[in-house]
């Protein structure tokens, strides 16, 4: 029988624009120490490490090997997983399978990035095909801007609708001491911010961030001994539908539609808006906060603006999204998907402090990256059957 798996500890750095005081390994060490402290474990208790980031942001080859001093991987099974923006969520899914397999009891999962060390757009551009993409492609922003142009043309959604997503996430971030941008913005400020890549403006977009996140996954025989109220993993799913950017269907992120449909089927979710208590979504730019929640089945295509304006996804609403402030407030890329996982787990554990949503029983986190790829995980307060 596969083991049930729960998250029993999390640790994050205080994410910010640039951490000159620490190198990459030391940044990782900081998050790992916090996760160990949170779970009241020692490194000797940990029986394996998985770590991830995107190589060309820091120009480090074999990061699993390079990071040993800070990751706690010395003398332990250590492995690197990486899938671009989805890296953090890919790591979380990896943490689940490796512990569920019975090969590990307590696995340390680490995502990190020091985006201050290179030009983020320049580095992301190297993620795409050297022959077919790099001539014209300009990092994630260009691809997302194209997606936004298609979404607007398809459903008549406006830039102002999208701005409402930024306003929500930035307001929530003020409650999260670890978030990078902790200052509220208004619709007007978003609308009048610098135009970077039509229709996207500066405040439609995530910042670039230095940060690390560590999460400890534990098997059922030890989880409740470590943590009285662990966050149980109920299911995971993902899709990498495209190899070529031009193959992408830019309407409502099909990879997320398919991954979430699989997740819901596996976990018995029929009405996500009603059944799920909080979502931590990898929403790197404002329009995704509309289009992608349609992909997640929270409403019909084109109807997300109504949900946003009605406050359904605000803290205090029916289904709060990104109580942490989300990616628009903080994006150390290789850590970002794992931060979503950590924040969802904190909500289940009841340890989210000022950003806590009351009485969370079911939470969902997502990851986005690569060639419009998606990862999703579902968490529960109750040990799964």
């Amino acid at each position: 029988m596969p083991n049930r798996v729960a998250i029993v500890g999390t640790g994050q750095t205080h994410h910010c624009t640039r951490r000159l005081d620490v190198n990459g390994v030391e940044l990782i060490y900081e998050a790992v120490q916090r996760a160990l402290a949170d779970a009241e474990l020692k490194i000797q208790d940990i029986d394996g490490v998985i770590i991830g980031n995107m190589d060309h942001f820091e120009g480090i080859n074999y990061v699993d090997c390079w990071s040993i001093d800070g990751s706690g991987g010395f003398g332990k099974p250590t492995m690197k997983l990486t899938t671009g923006g989805t890296t953090g969520s890919t790591l979380a899914i990896g943490g689940y399978h490796m512990v569920a397999s019975g090969m590990f009891d307590k696995l340390l999962v680490i995502g990190w990035e020091k985006n201050s060390e290179s030009d983020t757009t320049g580095a992301i551009t190297t993620a795409f095909d050297p022959i077919w993409d790099r001539l014209v492609f300009a990092g994630a922003i260009s691809g997302l801007a194209v997606e936004a142009s298609v979404y607007m043309a398809t459903y008549g959604v406006t830039e102002k609708d999208a701005a409402r997503v930024t306003v929500r996430d930035r307001r929530h971030a003020c409650l999260n001491p670890y978030a990078h941008l902790r200052k509220e913005v208004t619709i007007e400020e978003v609308m009048s911010s610098a135009r970077l890549s039509d229709p996207l403006k500066l405040l439609d977009l995530c910042p670039r961030t230095d940060g690390a996140c560590a999460v400890i996954f534990a098997s059922e025989n030890v989880a409740e001994k470590i943590c009285p109220k662990p966050a149980w993993i109920l299911g995971t799913a993902n899709r990498h539908l495209y190899t070529y950017l031009g193959d992408a269907d830019f309407v409502n992120l099909p990879s997320l539609q398919r991954a979430s449909a699989e997740l819901y089927k596996k976990t018995g979710i029929r009405e996500p808006l009603k059944q799920i208590d909080v979502m931590e979504l990898y929403i790197p730019y404002s329009f995704a906060g509309l289009s992608w929640i349609e992909a997640l089945g929270l409403c019909k295509p084109g109807e997300a603006p109504r949900l946003l304006w009605d406050g359904v996804t605000d803290l205090g609403g029916e289904l709060p999204i990104n109580a942490s402030g989300g990616v628009i407030s903080c994006n150390p890329i290789g850590a970002t998907g794992l931060i979503r996982c950590a924040e969802a787990a904190l909500q289940i554990m009841g340890k989210a402090d000022k950003r806590q949503v009351p009485d969370v029983k079911i939470a969902l986190s997502s990851g986005f990256g690569g060639c419009f790829w998606s990862d999703v995980l579902l968490y529960g307060a109750r040990k799964p059957l």
Binding site: V22, E26, Y29, F74, E117, S118, I131
Partner: protein, 154 residues
């Protein structure tokens, strides 16, 4: 005729040139500043296992705790192993053939990878005593030590 048989296999010659600015961090910065300003080589000791790390580490990987005291090491040390690289690559700071060694500085528990210089390449042996030669103009990098050279017998 199958078109695949008549295709010239093209190659796209390109490069990845992303400029990096790596943070050295507090611990490493102290090491490089001492090297640059005082030609001193510093290590950091783990108070758990007493390992003295050179280059200094903020943390001890084995004990997984912060290291403690700064320790001045060397400047002389012992050659643990070496090689003479005969081929050129574009990244070498000096012309090939060039010699590398791992040097355990006096007072350090670990070895430092660096260049060997001012030495008869045929005379390099593990266990030989070495001393650093510092650059006149120092910038706060590992190359502020130009190389290690054999210590002349007293």
């Amino acid at each position: 005729m199958d078109w695949l048989a008549n295709v010239e296999a093209m190659v796209h010659h390109s490069r990845i040139k992303v400029p990096y600015t790596w943070s050295v961090g507090e611990t490493g910065s102290r090491f490089f500043v001492e090297l640059r300003d005082h030609r001193r080589i510093l290590g950091r000791r783990c108070e758990g296992c007493r390992t003295v790390y050179v280059p200094p580490r903020k943390m001890c990987a084995r004990c997984f705790q912060d290291t403690g005291a700064w320790v001045e090491v060397g400047p002389e040390g012992t050659l643990l192993t070496y090689t003479i690289v005969r081929y050129a690559n574009e990244l070498q700071p000096v012309k090939a053939p060039l010699a590398y060694g791992i040097i355990q500085l006096d007072g350090a528990s670990t070895g430092l990878v660096h260049l060997l210089g001012d030495v008869d390449l045929k005379a390099i042996r593990s266990g030989m005593r070495l001393a650093p030669v510092f650059q006149e103009k120092r910038a706060g990098t590992i190359l502020d030590i130009a190389y290690f050279q054999p210590v002349k017998a007293a």
